[in-house]
């Protein structure tokens, strides 16, 4: 009986749904060096703190923004953005900011002609600093009252991603 108390090793599940990394690439529309904002949390819900890397943005500049999601627990890293694109009508990114003069607008549409937010346009104003919060909602109501790029509160659904970047425009 005691021998049977020893149990076989569990199978470690393949966590293919995990998102470890969000990279928001901002390329100046007029050309120039792209800026990357990166949020990396390798252990998922585990106790290790995430690594957040940012670079300064230039004032009064229009950027083309693109979001990329990775699962770096897989090797090679899996691009989760394709999953979002396949189900684009069930997903929407939101961009909220406290930086004066900075605004983000959608630059893509899903199969129902509603925004997704994988591609965006970001316009900076004068010099300043603050935070930029990027949220990904799963199964939101995209046409609910008051749902705009900077306000997901009436959209509902579940938050799959919510990351905050410190932003410096100078």
């Amino acid at each position: 009986m005691l021998a049977s108390c020893s149990k076989d090793d569990p199978v470690i599940p393949n966590e293919e749904e995990v998102i470890t990394t969000l990279i928001y690439t901002l390329t100046p529309d007029a050309g120039g060096t792209a800026v990357e904002l990166q949020f990396l949390d390798a252990d998922g819900d585990g106790g290790d703190a995430p690594e957040i890397t940012t670079s300064d943005l230039s004032p009064n500049t229009l950027y083309v923004g693109a979001v990329r999601l990775l699962n770096e627990q897989e090797s090679p890293a899996e691009d989760v953005t394709t999953e979002i694109m396949e189900e684009n009508e069930d997903h929407q990114f939101f961009y909220e900011t406290t930086v004066d003069g900075l605004s983000v607008s959608y630059d893509d549409l899903d199969s129902n002609d509603q925004p997704v937010g994988i591609r965006t346009m970001l316009q900076t104003g004068d010099e300043g600093s603050g935070m930029l919060t990027i949220t990904l909602r799963h199964e939101p109501n995209k046409s609910a009252d008051g749902v705009v790029i900077s306000d997901p509160s009436n959209a509902g659904g579940e938050t799959d991603i919510e990351v905050r970047f410190p932003i410096n425009v100078q």
Partner: protein, 775 residues
């Protein structure tokens, strides 16, 4: 089925006068109220085969004449008592003395068990067969809620688990036909997987004298009693059907049984289905539930001394969880809290069940044998196997919604040996036993998600001895119990790279109880018991790690937790000054050292999904005390009233704050009118017409601090319910009609113990129509 539980035939005196085929036999006798020893007037006794009968006079006497020598079923009914059926074989003129427990039935739906008095000082309450039949639409926990001192922890309308005197989950034991129910008891959003309709009665033991039962000795014990089959040679059964307006639920239950000296059998099947429930103002979308359950019981007497039985049950359920209560992180929770109506509320009703949902099944097979040496000594051996499957589906990306996010399979083997001797030494009775239990819990890896609780195997052995004796007007019992637990755990690390971490642990739990009951007079009884018990930390408390989706929090176990140690004292005073008045007050006090609870960390944990509150399993010293009060009073022979109040306080003695998830104080008052005479409606005779109106007050939990929850504690509320029922006697069957209205005034409310309160109002008005045929 006609329960004989409250009915005892104490004498069967036979006088040989006529033996022959003429229909000249008679049955006569007296009916006495066992509570007060007074004769009971107006008891109807009908021979169901012939339809002839009699009513008792003021001395409790009845006489039925002109019976043929035959087998007869006597249907005995009395206002305020459950109707009973007794089988007798009439060969001669027969004199019967029948005991009916009328005064204790004053409380109608909840009666104090009389049986226990002779066996132990257990302080317990019972839900009888008829009460269950009148609540056929409810699940186990919601049925138990009718008992004072029992509350229910819910996650919407489909998931409910009982709380007894403030304790629930791992601290309670639920015994399904004598076997400790295995399964994922740790989760607040996991209902016990039992169909209550398989039971003849359900008992709740609130005191400490329950050491013979396997499981945690800290909290109360819930016993789902599947009694042995009555020695009644005919095929009997009951077919029930119900419809509920809220959720448009349909349900049916069929029970069939027959006694045969060679092999007796019973079958019990239930089918239930409901769609979206509704609050007064909107549908609660995706709250449908489907259930299909079956149980069988076989019983065989090998000899007058040896009886074998085989019992099997299967429970299968699919439960929808309110779509709007599925959230990603704490921001989502705060958004939901600010809304009146949950997200995803649709104006259309649907029977469909989509993610988030649970698919749960539980199967039990039990074999037992009983050998009776003589009137005093019995040996009982039983063995059981259980299989519990729990799959929980969340809303996920890329078609993964169809893959369970949690899939746990638990297998359990149990064996038990019990020996009872009513007179082992100088009138001391003894009951002793040995129990062994092997549980294997395995996460199925196809979820693609790190499991919240690890795989484990646990091996538990226990032994107990109970002694009792009646000394003049006192009855005392002493109990001792020892359990040894080994756990072999295989966890997956929460750090990268994933590794397998092995834990081996062992615990020793000692429990003891002392009970004393004193029959002051026929009208006043004092029962008390005091007990110490230990509970080893459960697997989730030791090793859980990850996001608990239901609460949007990260829960982390602590492998160094120690066992909880508890001391609990219960005193119950029962006062029955007249057959018309019944009062019971029960006081309890419990202290738990190293009480295990989830302590919120001050810092939130930042992940790619946003910030999550972190809860760590920690230990403190806790104190729980309270009172259950019940009273019944008969205003007239047709009108009776009932009052129940329960008060509870629970403190964390170290932090000096209230414990969470403790029921609010509540009050229940009801008034019942039951017609003395039958009435005739379009040629049909309606018996036992009864109308009940009851009101329930749940008070606000003002004692909780504002930072102990995500939102303010909901206000108290009052609900009004009504019930109308009557019986119709047919030649070989009885029909019972039932109309019940819950939340008659369609009140909007939120209950503290329902997690869905963060998102939506509770259930609105529900009209239940029930019909059953017993034959």
């Amino acid at each position: 089925m006609f329960s004989k539980y409250w009915f005892l035939i104490i004498g069967l005196l036979v006088s040989v006068e006529v033996v022959g085929q003429q229909c000249e036999l008679n049955i006569s006798g007296y009916v006495i109220d066992s509570g007060s020893d007074e004769p009971l007037e107006y008891v109807n006794i009908i021979v169901s085969e012939t339809g002839t009968g009699a009513t008792t006079d003021s001395t409790g006497f009845f006489r039925i004449n002109d019976l043929c020598p035959e087998e007869a079923h006597l249907v005995i009914s009395h206002i305020g008592c459950e109707t009973q059926q007794v089988y007798i074989n009439v060969r001669r003129d027969t004199v019967l003395t029948l005991l009916m427990d009328h005064s204790e039935n004053l409380l109608h739906d909840v009666v104090i068990t009389g049986e226990a008095i002779d066996k132990s000082t257990q302080i317990s309450q019972v839900i009888t067969a008829q009460v269950m039949a009148d609540q056929i639409d409810k699940d186990l926990s919601n049925m138990l809620e009718g008992i004072t001192g029992v509350s229910v922890l819910k996650n919407g309308s489909g998931v409910a688990k009982p709380i007894i005197h403030g304790l629930y989950g791992n601290r309670l034991s639920i015994l399904n036909n004598g076997v400790l129910q295995s399964g994922q008891q740790w989760g607040n959003d996991h209902s016990p997987e039992i169909d209550p309709l398989i039971a003849q009665k359900i008992r709740v033991i609130k005191g400490t004298a329950a050491l013979e039962y396997f499981g945690s000795q800290l909290g109360g014990v819930i016993l789902i009693d599947v009694d042995r089959l009555d020695e009644e040679p005919h095929l009997h059964g009951r077919l029930s059907y119900f419809y509920e307006t809220n959720g448009r639920a349909h349900g049916t239950n069929l029970q069939l049984q027959q006694y045969n000296p060679k092999l007796s059998w019973k079958l019990n099947g239930t089918l239930k289905k409901n769609g979206d429930r509704s609050s007064p103002n909107y549908f609660l979308n995706n709250t449908g539930v489907q259930q299909a359950n079956l149980a069988f019981q076989l019983q065989k007497s090998i000899s007058p001394k040896l009886e074998l039985s085989l019992y099997g049950s299967t429970f299968n359920s699919e439960i929808g969880i309110l779509r709007g209560s599925h959230i990603g992180n704490i921001t989502d929770l705060q958004t939901a809290l600010a809304r009146d109506e949950p997200f995803f509320t649709e104006p259309e009703f649907s029977y469909g069940i989509e993610a988030p949902r649970q698919v749960v099944s539980h199967h039990l097979l039990k074999f037992s044998g009983k050998y009776v040496f003589d009137d005093d000594r019995i040996i009982e051996v039983s063995t059981a196997a259980q299989l519990n499957d729990r799959k929980e589906y969340d809303v996920r990306r890329s078609g993964r919604t169809e893959i369970p996010a949690l899939f746990l399979r638990q297998g359990n083997l149990f064996a038990q040996f019990k020996y009872r001797d009513l007179d082992i030494f100088r009138n001391w009775g003894m009951s002793t036993g040995l129990q062994v239990d092997l549980t294997d819990n395995t996460n199925q890896p196809e979820t693609g998600i790190l499991p919240l609780i690890p795989d484990y195997r646990s091996f538990k052995t226990g032994a107990f001895a109970l002694f009792n004796r009646r000394i003049n007007k006192s009855f005392v019992d002493v109990g001792l119990r020892y359990d040894q637990v080994f756990q072999n755990v295989l966890a997956i690390s929460s750090t990268i790279p994933r590794e397998i971490i092995r834990y081996d642990n062992g615990f020793h739990n000692f429990s003891a109880s002392f009970g004393w009951q004193y029959l002051w007079s026929k009208h006043f009884t004092v029962s008390s018991n005091i007990g110490v018990a230990m509970r080893n930390p459960a697997i989730n408390e030791l090793y859980s790690v990850g996001v608990h989706q239901g609460v949007s929090g990260i829960e982390e176990g602590d492998p160094d937790l120690k066992s909880e140690r508890s001391i609990k004292a219960v005193v119950s005073l029962k006062w029955k000054p007249t057959p018309r008045l019944y009062v019971e007050s029960l006081f309890y006090y419990q202290e738990i050292s190293d009480y295990i609870y989830l302590r919120p960390e001050e810092k939130f944990r930042l992940t790619v999904r946003g910030a999550f509150p972190v809860f760590i399993y920690d230990q403190t010293d806790a104190q729980i005390y309270g009172m259950d009060f019940t009273a019944g009073y008969e205003l007239s022979p047709t009108v009776s009233s009932k009052l129940a109040y329960s008060y509870i306080r629970a403190n964390d003695l170290e932090a000096n704050i209230e414990l969470i998830n403790i029921p609010a104080n509540n009050l229940n008052a009801s008034l019942q009118y039951e017609m003395k005479e039958s009435i005739s409606l379009i040629g049909i005779q309606l018996d036992k017409c009864a109308f009940t109106i009851d009101s329930k007050w749940i008070f606000r939990k003002d004692e909780l601090l504002s930072d102990q929850d995500f939102t303010a504690v909901p206000d108290g509320y009052q609900l009004l319910n009504a019930k109308l029922s009557f019986d119709v006697s047919l030649p070989h069957a009885r029909l019972r009609w039932l109309l019940r209205i819950d939340n008659m005034l369609d009140q909007s409310y939120r209950d503290y113990l329902n997690r869905q309160r963060y998102f939506a109002d509770d259930l609105g008005r529900n009209v239940v129509l029930g019909l059953n045929v017993s034959f």
